[in-house]
Symmetry: C2
Subunit: 345 residues, 2 copies
């Protein structure tokens, strides 16, 4: 393939979305070594100008011709858009980092959290998938634990922000809350339920056999794939809470052998992509307001699971920026690895 | 004792608080057979008038003389107030239903959810404790399951509303959210962390040995006492979310023997105090906005726990009005049982 991976031309598909905007910011802040940046979006955003470094870049409409000369394309649009356009990008000889769920579970597609399985990137066949945000935030802190003392069972309850449903959902949370406070009616159009001071089960389809929703099945299946461990047993309850942009998760895990909460706390101090926030005396723990805008996933409330007398289970609470580590940052980190680790194909 | 339990004189301590106001409403709506109602509060509420049935009742200051002639006193103030005044009430020959945590774990004090252990009321020695709100909402739906197939392990993650911290916390959530939307600064004074579009670990003291906070330990210990089963193994993560008045809980439980989600769903259809809200096709499940103002605890998302291959574990999601079933309603239900079941003492 002819792609230039030392100073690539990068395209962002969905550049005006909540994640797209953060991708631009990550590329800028991390000094990504690119030779050019092409911003692609749906026709209604065409002509908008977005700042990148010292210049403004005009948003172009996404077409099949959009990828000429592109080396790396970061997709953050719908699964439908990814399924339609990613193969075109690959045919052009470029590499796709896809934030949709379209290819995540394909055997040929690496599903990568760089802190966990960066090595997987090398086996890509043109597409690398960025995992589900709730999965990334739940499992990134657990990887050092899993390497030390394999995690056999994982139970996750999420507290997911509006940002996971896009910029329009964030605006719906703001606008509906304002209406509520002013005693005005508000008709929700983005999310299926009223959002002001309310929470609801994640708005994805329920599997008619298992009763789990799509989001929960992503956390379950993607954990197994990213950890490279099909035997890890996972359960998840995914809930949308009235928070703007950072996801939180209550996580209980059981290891193969007994493990002390203190050992997990020590591991968190050096875990990549993780910041320990576990101040018992001041009751200061991970919060979405602190995680927002931060690269690191905040981890705290680390304690022995009192319901497991074997001493093998620990419970903790994490918060991570859904738009950054949960999406844009993780995708840009993958792209950074590509720049250093050219494809083998 | 001289108390009249067929048509009692009832006193409410903390009558102007978020729970006190709901106690008055419950007594009225449920046509509680009382001969009189005395409203007691701290001096700063003295003279306020609150409506009950067709008249207005003036709030009196709480003093040691407040309980002359009272038959049943519903306490919803601090643990300190309960510890100071409840013994005085008992000495007067009246019965206290106490919503604070002051006496809950005393061996002599019944801790009652009427749907679960109404029989405990008969052994009271003047004080009956109303359980923690998160405990009530988590375990009331589980009682019919526990009777059919004993629950051995319970893992709870809560999504707790502002109301649990009182009317001032509800106002802080409203006011701080308004300030956030208007771009104004807001200094939180009631809760320890900014609340607008944020969530945080429950604001109670952390046990320096276990790392659990007081709220979590209440859920853990009170579950054992209410179920009358010291061996049930419980773990809880208690989180305050930006919701006004209904608590939600993600619950995973393991039974002695395998149990199908379908069997749990059937049990929920007739469980007292519970309403099944589990509409997979329309993605409609328990939500705080629907639970607010409702007596019943809403239960849904009932499904097999995929992390337990033994088939003994089920996971579900509930929402219940913290001020009603979580506090005022449960206390009034206990008082109703007293009217029918005079004390044995």
């Amino acid at each position: 393939m002819g792609s230039n991976l030392s100073s690539p031309l990068v395209a962002i598909v969905g550049a005006t979305g909540a994640v797209g905007v953060e991708m631009i910011r990550c590329l800028e802040e991390r000094n990504f070594p690119l030779s050019g940046l092409r911003l692609l979006a749906s026709p209604r955003s065409t002509g908008r100008k977005l700042k990148f470094r010292d210049r403004e870049i005009e948003v172009e409409p996404l077409t099949e011709q959009s990828f000429k000369g592109v080396d790396i394309a970061l997709f953050s649009a719908s699964g439908t858009v990814s399924r339609q356009f990613a193969p075109i990008v690959v045919k052009e000889g470029a590499i796709v980092v896809d934030n949709s769920s379209a290819f995540r579970m394909d055997a040929d597609t690496p599903l990568v959290v760089p802190e966990i399985n960066a090595g997987e990137i090398a086996r890509h066949k043109g597409i690398i998938a960025n995992p589900n945000c709730a999965a990334i935030i739940s499992i990134t802190p657990l990887w050092p634990v899993h390497q030390r003392n394999p995690i056999k069972r994982l139970i996750v309850a999420t507290y997911q922000a509006a940002s996971g449903a896009g910029a329009a959902a964030m605006e719906e949370l703001r606008a509906s809350t304002e209406a509520y406070l002013q005693g005005r009616e508000y008709k929700n159009t983005v999310l299926p339920h009223p959002y002001a001071f309310n929470l609801f089960s994640h708005n994805t389809k329920i599997d008619p056999v298992t009763g789990y929703n799509d989001e929960e099945m992503k956390v379950i299946e993607e954990t197994k794939k990213i950890f490279g461990d099909p035997d890890i047993r996972v359960s998840a309850t995914c809930v949308r809470v009235p928070v703007l942009r950072a996801h939180s998760v209550a996580v209980t895990f059981e290891c193969e052998r007994p493990i002390a909460a203190a050992e997990v706390r020590e591991l968190m101090k050096t875990a990549p992509g993780v910041k320990l926030v576990d101040d018992w005396a001041n009751n200061y723990f991970p919060m979405p307001k602190d995680a927002s805008g931060q690269d690191d996933i905040l981890v705290g409330r680390i304690r022995q699971d009192l319901s497991d007398p074997s001493g093998k289970s620990v419970t903790l609470f994490s918060a991570g920026d859904q738009l950054l580590k949960g999406a844009a940052l993780n995708a840009v980190q993958i792209a950074e690895k590509l720049v250093k680790v050219p494809a083998l194909a």
